[in-house]
């Protein structure tokens, strides 16, 4: 029913991903291109730094998914020919499972990261704005989003932080709550320390960088939107700082017990969070004994990262089970949908025949009926059609989802109905052709309009022979 064609960090190195990276303005263009092809009826593009994926469906429910996948691959390769060997293609049930896994962040570089769901929602919005969605993706995407939410609610896949700077910032938040007006001191430089300082700055804290080399300290300060101070200001700055991040290459402690104890007195009992990211350590570990002083070194933070990652991996198994369960539910729905063309054709056939007879009667023996009575008669016909077709509709949908070899298949039932009711002709019954056609069309009720708006595809009603692919397309 749907295909997913694309590449991700699993299949393509960054150089290849860069080649196909789609800027925001290119997405609507590609969507339009895809929908203008003869095979793609619906499309959506997920473009992040770790993946570019086209999710597409054919023009009809029983479209040839291999052709749809090929059209998507061609559209991508046209932009960057070298990506072809890195592309994966999923079709049918496999595509649905893949989409659900992506939404649930089970396919992400960092397991359980929450951004992908937002990116998927954004992709859905863009596709909707471009009118690139249809009945299939409009059912599939909300379902994928629901699966992702279910996974996040029922498992701990998103719990804990999975990077040292994020863990440090999270702990600081546990101590101080908000960072607005808080003072952060960065001693030395280092990628992790600067990332943590940037995150704190972004959350509203004021950052001061202290270094032995003032020029270098000011350079780092500029990169974190902070202020540089000389080494001599270390003690005074320490007394002001709520959060201290150290990452120097010094061989001994640059912040000793006495310095922290003195700073603590000046701070009048206010909490202080010290993050020592250096090896060898920059801060004397004895400061941990001071009331209101909390010291975490790189091992403490790494242990939390490992714990979070391991917890997420454990939760991933439960999340996979949810995805499989939801994908099975989707399969059942999609299988039942296979019966839809036959149901629509059968309904149109019976309704059409009744309309012809009703029209005759209303021009003949029943012509004395007023508008109100005619309306009541139309409603009665509609209700009769519903009642007569209720059983066959259920039976067809059951046949579409039945897995038992003994049960009649949808193909068999559809073929029988097609033969009995001559559904392949789409309109009137064969013997209607012999009848005089002197009738004016009946006023259309809401359901009549719906039927007319969705004519069954030729042949599809009689035999839905193209069953959905349940394995990855070649």
């Amino acid at each position: 029913m749907i295909v997913v064609v694309g590449l991700s960090h699993h299949t393509a190195p960054i150089g290849v991903r860069e080649a196909i990276a789609l800027p925001a303005e290119a997405v609507p263009v590609l969507l339009r291109e895809l929908c203008e092809t003869s095979v793609v009826g619906e499309a959506l593009i997920v473009s992040t730094c770790n993946r570019v994926e086209l999710v597409a469906a054919g023009k009809s429910i029983d479209a040839d998914l291999t052709r749809v996948a090929e059209a998507c691959a061609a559209a991508l390769c046209q932009r960057a020919p070298k990506i072809r060997e890195h592309l994966y293609r999923h079709a049918g049930g496999a595509a649905v499972r893949h989409l659900f896994r992506v939404a649930a962040s089970l396919d992400s570089l960092v397991l359980g990261e929450p951004q992908i769901l937002g990116q998927l929602k954004q992709a859905y919005d863009v596709a909707r704005e471009e009118r690139a969605l249809g009945p299939i993706l409009n059912r599939t995407l909300p379902r994928a989003i629901r699966v992702a939410k279910r996974v996040r609610t029922e498992t701990s896949i998103g719990s804990g932080q999975v990077s040292v700077p994020s863990v440090a910032v999270d702990l600081a938040r546990q101590i101080f709550g908000e960072f607005t007006g808080r003072f952060v001191m960065l001693v030395g430089s280092g990628e992790m320390a600067e990332t943590a300082a940037k995150q704190l700055r972004g959350a509203g804290a004021r950052v001061v960088v202290v270094g032995r080399n003032l020029e270098r300290a000011e350079e780092v300060a500029r990169s974190v939107d902070g202020e540089g101070r000389p080494w001599s200001a270390l003690g005074a700055t320490l007394a002001e700082a709520d959060v201290v991040i150290t990452s120097t290459s010094a061989t001994g402690y640059v912040i000793d017990y006495d310095t922290v104890a003195a700073a603590r007195k000046k701070r009048r009992g206010q909490s202080q969070f010290l993050i020592d990211l250096a090896v060898p350590r920059d801060i004397d570990p004895r400061v941990e004994k001071l009331d209101g002083v909390y010291l975490y070194n790189v091992d403490d933070l790494t242990a939390q990262v490992k714990e979070s990652l391991s917890a997420r991996s454990r939760e991933a198994e439960r999340a996979e089970a949810i995805v499989v369960n939801e994908a099975l539910g989707y399969d059942r729905w999609a299988d039942a949908e296979q019966a839809t063309p036959t149901i629509i054709a059968l309904r149109a056939r019976i309704r059409g025949a009744l309309d012809v007879e009703l029209s005759r009667s209303l021009r003949g023996r029943l012509k004395h009926l007023g508008e109100e009575d005619r309306g009541a008669l139309l409603k009665m016909v509609e209700a009769s059609v519903n009642r007569v077709l209720h059983g066959p509709t259920l039976r067809l949908r059951q046949a579409a989802t039945a897995r038992s070899p003994e049960a009649l298949s949808l193909d068999q039932l559809a073929a029988a109905l097609g033969e009995l009711f001559d559904l392949s002709q789409g309109g009137a019954m064969a013997d209607d052709a012999d009848m005089p056609v002197d009738d004016e069309p009946l006023p259309s009720g809401p359901e009549t309009s719906q039927i007319e708006a969705e004519p069954p595809a030729a042949g599809a009603a009689a035999t839905p022979s193209k069953r959905r692919a349940h394995s990855e397309a070649p």
Binding site: S271, D291, E307
Partner: protein
């Protein structure tokens, strides 16, 4: 009116129980991105409203002013604690404290049923007695929330020191340490004048009634000691900047003493 009081009581129990359950479930909720829910506080608010109806209806029924009886006093204490929590919750990000306040309110509401509804002391002037009990009970309600904040502070601080904070989904739901410390401080500041009024009026009563029993002496001394302890905590906070764990322990000790005074009072039925 006769049916209103028991109906309100049972509805109050249901609302507080539901609020307690919601707060506990939220604490262990798995999705870390989810914001603090609104159901817990709303249920607590509903419980407080029903609780107030119960107190008014039951006191009218038994013809006792709510603040003149220990039964209603206990009930009002819980109500005071809930109101204090609801007022401070947003400002200090104390959402998780609901997991302490809601069961506490439930316990006091049910516990009050086992205490007599009779007036505390028929011989004392009603106005002054009402003032004395009201000051003590509202103060106690405020102190209970302060105690809850401090207890949570000790818990969070211990996990932080043991490097265990952040290892469970509940960690992200706990209020920040600084917010807990600040809230406990503000609540002590709010409750202390009420406690002072309670102690002063209590001293007047002791003199007027001429109490001389051992329990009465113990209760009076304990009252003064509690007042002294809490005054010391506040003074140290002001003078030397006492904060954090030590301040939390001080607050907890003070609140424990306040509860002990109440217990002594309850055991004696307010008669001595």
């Amino acid at each position: 009116m006769p049916e209103l009081a028991p109906v309100a009581f049972y509805l109050g129990v249901v609302a507080y129980s539901a609020a307690s359950t919601v707060f506990f479930l939220e604490l262990w909720r798995r999705d870390p991105e989810k914001q603090a829910g609104v159901f817990g506080p709303r249920l607590l608010m509903l419980g407080a409203a029903i609780h107030a109806v119960h107190v008014v209806a039951a006191s009218v029924l038994s013809r006792v002013c709510p603040v003149e009886s220990l039964h209603f006093g206990l009930s009002l204490t819980a109500l005071g604690a809930v109101v204090a929590y609801l007022l401070l919750r947003g400002r200090f990000r104390l959402h998780a404290l609901g997991a302490i306040v809601a069961p506490l309110a439930l316990t006091f509401l049910i516990g009050a049923q086992f205490v007599s509804t009779e007036r505390a002391d028929a011989e004392l002037p009603r106005g002054l007695l009402a003032f004395h009990i009201a000051a003590n009970l509202i103060g106690l309600g405020v102190f209970l929330v302060a105690g809850g904040s401090s207890a949570l502070y000790v818990l969070v601080e211990r996990r932080l020191r043991q490097k265990k904070l952040g290892l469970s989904p509940a960690s992200s739901r706990l209020p920040p340490l600084e917010a807990l410390d600040r809230a406990a401080h503000r609540l002590l500041l709010a409750g202390f004048p009420l406690l002072t009024l309670g102690v002063v009026t209590g001293a007047v009563f002791t003199q007027r009634v001429g109490e001389a029993g051992n329990v009465a002496v113990f209760r009076t001394v304990l009252g003064y000691a509690t007042w002294g302890l809490l005054a010391t905590v506040l003074l140290l906070r002001q003078i030397i900047g006492l904060r954090g764990r030590r301040a939390a322990y001080g607050t907890l000790a003070g609140v424990a003493c306040v509860l002990l005074v109440l217990l002594v009072y309850a055991v004696r039925g307010g008669a001595a």
